[in-house]
């Protein structure tokens, strides 16, 4: 690779990176359009929307060739501008419905002008004298004699936050269930698979209960049920055999002889 080639590769990469930064820097397609419109150096009212559409589409295309992922709304705008462009270039078709290309272009120009106007208004607003920075309120308000009447107040925001709190609280309920005392069948199956290799002879199922689950009644219930369900599953898979001498009699299991 020659030096020239190398440096041009570097330049390309830098350009690509700059573009990524730029795309991140825009607040949506309208913002990008507004920035592009500045290159025309005319009053927004006199802007060429056709030219602007071409600039935008060129930008999007460049981003695509550089494989920069663009948010969907950039592509939607690109499609719309391509459509607008075709309307502006082709002679109007009297059979076609909807607004003319000129009307659509005028609306877009107006949208840009409005956004620009709001930007300027925001800047002017922030440039105003501000309380706590340029002018100040009384620093030592005089404590009024005796506080007698108390008015209880709340704002609409308080009210809504309270309601939201209650409703959100509801939705949390399923997630905070105490699961400490539940032994799942998956856990039991896992455990049984590890132990079954040693169960050569008939053994009482209750001896398979996990440690620490025998004392508390609710824990024992859960562990027994899960372990029993796991043995049924293993029996179905043909790995073990089950035996019970009578109703409510202890259940015994053993490994199925090979």
């Amino acid at each position: 690779m020659s030096e020239a080639e190398q440096s041009s590769a570097v330049e390309e990469r830098l350009a690509a990176e700059a573009l990524i930064v730029d795309v991140d820097g825009y607040e949506g397609p309208l913002d990008l359009l507004l920035m592009l419109s500045r290159t025309q150096k005319v009053d927004l009212r006199r802007i060429s929307i056709l030219h602007l559409a071409e600039q935008y589409l060129a930008f999007i295309n460049r981003a695509e060739t550089l494989r920069i992922e663009l948010a969907a709304d950039y592509l939607v705008m690109a499609a719309w501008l391509a459509f607008l462009k075709s309307r502006l270039l082709l002679p109007p078709d009297p059979t076609e419905e909807g607004p003319s290309g000129e009307e659509m272009a005028a609306h877009l120009a107006w949208q840009l002008e409005r956004l620009q106007a709001m930007r300027e208004a925001a800047a002017r607003l922030m440039a105003r004298d501000q309380k706590g920075r340029d002018f100040f309120q009384r620093g030592q308000p005089e404590d009024v004699m005796r506080v007698r009447k108390i008015t209880w107040g709340a704002t609409l925001l308080d009210l809504m936050q309270a309601y939201a709190r209650i409703r959100t609280h509801d939705s949390f309920r399923p997630f905070v269930l105490d699961r400490d005392h539940v032994f799942t069948m998956e856990q039991a199956l896992e455990r049984m698979r590890g132990l079954i290799g040693y169960a050569g002879d008939w053994t009482d199922l209750s001896t398979y209960l996990p440690e620490g689950w025998g004392a508390d009644p609710s824990r024992r219930r859960s562990a027994t049920a899960a372990t029993f369900a796991a043995t049924l599953e293993l029996a179905k898979q043909g790995q073990i055999e089950l035996r019970q001498s009578g109703t409510f009699a202890p259940i015994a299991i053993r490994r199925k002889p090979q």
């Binding site: 620093g139 009024v144 308080d158 936050q161």
Partner: protein, 214 residues
Amino acid sequence: MSADPEEKSLFEAPPIAEQERMIEAMLFASTEPVTVAELSARMPHGSDAAEALAYLRRRYEGRGVRLVRIGDAWAFRTAPDLNFLMQKETVESRKLSRAAIETLAIIAYHQPVTRAEIEEIRGVAVSRGTVDQLLEMEWIRFGRRRMTPGRPVTFVVTEAFLDHFGLESARDLPGLKELRAAGLLDNRPLPGSLALPGEEDDEPVTGQTELFED
């Protein structure tokens, strides 16, 4: 402070009327009485805080507020003969308690609603004091009795409530969707969303008491 201002400063001191304005503003905005030394330190070189202060004090003589000396510092204070005007400012507004605001919110969103239903939604008992307070504020009132066993009374919000919150009707309250959009509500889907309390069974209450046993 500045016996020889011309010698000390490259700049000319502001006119005394301007110095008066400065002191006026500083004393007004300060959270504590300010000493002459401190006033001087904050003013442009060559200023004479003591002199300006004397002028300012004279200017406020007989006004609704006066310039008073507290220790070696200065502050504005209401003229004593007008103290009677400060009585009314004794209205203290406090935020409603959490229980009260939640109860109020439930009544507003679910009205007409019985006490039992409020408790069901909140998951905790509603104290008599809370309801009494809201009744006293005239933000809620009794509605029709519910035609169910026991014929419990219901609560509804009042005109005064709507007035306070700038609502035309209780239907104007932002819905759950908007609460969520404003970031006040978690994005989780809600069980049954705005189902009327009457349609819910008792489960939530029992479910919650279990919850809080931790």
